[in-house]
Amino acid sequence: MTATAPRPAAARTPARPALRDRVFKLAELVTTPLLPVDYLDLFDPLRSGAALRGRIEAVHEETRDAASIVIRPGRDWLPHVPGQYVRIGIDIDGVRQWRAYSITSVLGRPDGCFTITVKAIPDGKVSNHLVHRVKPGTIIQLDQATGEFCLPEETPGKALFVTAGSGITPVMGILRNSADSLADTVLVHSAPTSEDVVFGEELRQMAADGRIRLIEQHTDSAGMLDARSIAELVPDLHERATWACGPVGMLEALEEHWASVGIADRLYTERFRPRILVTGEGGTVTFTKNGTTVEADGATPILDAAEEAGVLMPSGCRMGICYGCVLPMRAGAVRDLRNGEITTAEDVGDGVLIQTCVSAAAGACDIDH
């Protein structure tokens, strides 16, 4: 999501009839200090007007460490754009954890559900839970789908997708929905072995049907593909619009190569995690309104440290992109973990806005929250 493809704005809210508002206002008189929704949630957590939630309906194993999760969204769910991701909040060991996953299903499934596909990463609390342990029937929290890693409205004649590992997931969301509207599609996908290719069978079938050209690279036996070899495999690369998703190292190599041949504007990339580049000394973070004080080290985002201490924090993509976590800092300094840049509150009470998901304490700081 460092580059953006143009697409229609997604911020739509469902119109709520005025009559319902009035009924709710009246009901509030009886439910105070709670709200009517607090009672309605007991009976129908997925109803229209509720905080957006979903119910896990099924878990389909894709590979030994990846699974697709079928989710029935609440009735206020808006259709996503293929390639987008969704943030889910799931309670694991009693603690709510938020993560973002790409939506991989076709639009408009008859059962009204959508799927996300998750690859379990080593020590990944949420990914392992979703792949190996979660039970159908579990209620999760949802945000509306978001993300800019999508095809433009006017589909390009020739497209190239470069993916590795779980990087296939947003691309699968696109291919399942749009492979036929793309006249000429090449997918270069890397995975350790043939069995590790998520959606391997389906992709090979698509290739056999002539809908895409598939280049599989099994890195355990054949090694990693570098940008130069991709260029050799896809000689008309400069004629193609390219979407890439995978490890940060791969994306950076591609960006470099595409820039060097002067077509950087034709490359769209999607990152799943921020790249932590610089760490330093931590410090004491004080949340002034809340009164909580947290000792945070210099490698931990303030968002994570605060949540660990039980502070309710606004949050979003958790990789420094969506600005959903921004809070004013009244005093002190923080370090941007992506580039080491230090942000300082000039005067006490300054209120400079910081992204808590990619900022670590650089000495003591006061956050207005």
């Binding site: 008189l29 105070t32 200090p33 009672y39 007991l42 309670d91 060991d93 809340n290 039980g310």
Partner: protein, 399 residues
């Protein structure tokens, strides 16, 4: 009773400073173990209690729509009383302590919760969590001791107005939620001078309380009765009853926590520079438990484990029962008194103390059926006479 520091036999005199710090370390270890083991079952517990409470409240209010039929009135009133008790004790009090903040669920969090009670959560958290739990049983600092309207210690000078203290205490019990709201506002202090009355901070807080009371009263005494149509008056009476039952119950439970005979109080100066170990020991000696069934523990919001609650106010209440034996073992090992008794005994003990302190020091203990007339005559003299008479008679009694 008198503050621990002035007692002829100080019950902690045998503890060395090292003992006290060791006690602190042991308690810290218990706390950490429990925190590390919190998980899905705990989350399920609080969500189940909330679910049951809401359905019970909804069901009871629905039954009360037909409250002009006596069985419906009885059933609805009983159900609503239990629902209100659960809401205040096991749910509200404990969530507002931050016991469930670790779940990161914005709907069950100390910073977002509001409860069915006259005092707004924000104000209560300050006076309860910050003042009472920090200064537990320190005379002059912890206003939970008698809420500033009662004589709670022999060292407080007796005055005839304290004779009405049992009555005050009873009235406070019936309307406890308003007493708490007034107390959280520090109404006595803040209404005393014009300057304090006009302080914008106080005015804003008072406005907040009035709004909360208005909403609460509209719900219980206007909207719900109106919805009951022909059952208007019975529903109003039912809601009033449920509120009084809840108030009496929570007052009794809270009185049992720090007021039974034998629970220690502390001098103001004794907490200057107090260590974590000393703080723990003060909480240990300043609280009393109620023994009983599981249902009783739930209905008291597990404040029946007052000792454990005061040691670990932010540990989820469903864990106090399992911590209790380990805490008691520490008491035993260090030869400290772990106060625990059934509810009726603790309530009786607390009331005994209220009555004892409403009378001049020693009066109740000295009175026997035989000397009752003489004692009454003395009390009459002390009540009607001036301070000099009181002092003279009091010192004669003490001698």
């Amino acid at each position: 009773m008198t503050v621990i520091q002035k007692k002829p036999e100080n019950p902690i005199a045998h503890l060395t400073p090292e003992d006290i710090e060791l006690i602190g370390k042991e308690l810290d270890t218990i706390r950490q173990e429990i925190r590390d083991s919190l998980g899905e079952d705990d989350a399920k517990y609080i969500r189940t209690v909330i679910d049951v409470q809401r359905k019970l409240e909804l069901g009871s209010r629905a039954v009360l729509l037909f409250s002009k039929f006596p069985p419906a009135w009885v059933l609805g009133t009983a159900g609503l009383s239990v629902a209100k008790i659960l809401e205040n004790m096991e749910i509200g009090h404990n969530i507002l302590h931050g016991q469930w903040d670790w779940m990161r669920d914005p709907k069950i969090h100390s910073t977002t919760w509001e409860w069915d009670m006259a005092s707004p959560a924000e104000q209560w958290k300050h006076s309860h969590n910050e003042l009472h739990h920090t200064y537990t049983n320190v005379i002059g600092k912890d206003n939970d001791l008698g809420y500033g309207i009662m004589r709670v210690d022999e060292d407080q000078k007796w005055h005839p107005m304290y004779l009405a203290q049992p009555l005050w205490n009873f009235i406070n019990a019936c309307f406890f939620e308003y007493g708490i709201a007034a107390y959280d506002l520090e109404l006595g202090k803040n209404l005393a001078t014009k300057k304090r009355r006009n302080d914008p901070k106080f005015r804003a807080a008072a406005k907040q309380v009035l709004k909360k009371i208005r909403n609460q009263a509209a719900k219980d005494y206007v909207v719900h009765p109106l919805l009951s149509g022909p059952s208007f008056l019975p529903t109003l009476a039912a809601n009033f009853t449920a509120n009084v039952v809840r108030n009496l119950w929570s007052h009794s439970v809270i009185m049992c926590g720090h007021f039974p005979e034998g629970v220690e109080t502390f001098e103001k100066t004794s907490i200057d520079g107090e260590t974590r170990g000393e703080w723990y020991v003060r909480q240990m000696l300043g609280s009393a438990n109620i023994s009983g069934s599981k249902a009783m523990h739930t209905m008291t919001g597990n404040l029946s484990h007052q000792v454990e609650h005061h040691l670990f106010p932010d540990i989820p209440s469903n864990r106090y029962a399992e911590i209790a034996p380990r805490v008691k073992e520490i008491f035993d090992r260090y030869d400290l008194t772990y106060h625990s008794a059934p509810l009726y005994k603790q309530v009786a003990s607390a009331w005994h103390k209220v009555i004892r302190l409403s009378l001049p020091n020693g009066w109740l203990a000295e009175t026997t059926p035989k000397n009752a007339p003489a004692q009454l005559a003395k009390l009459y003299k002390m009540t009607t006479g001036g301070p000099k008479v009181r002092r003279a008679l009091q010192s004669k009694a003490a001698a």
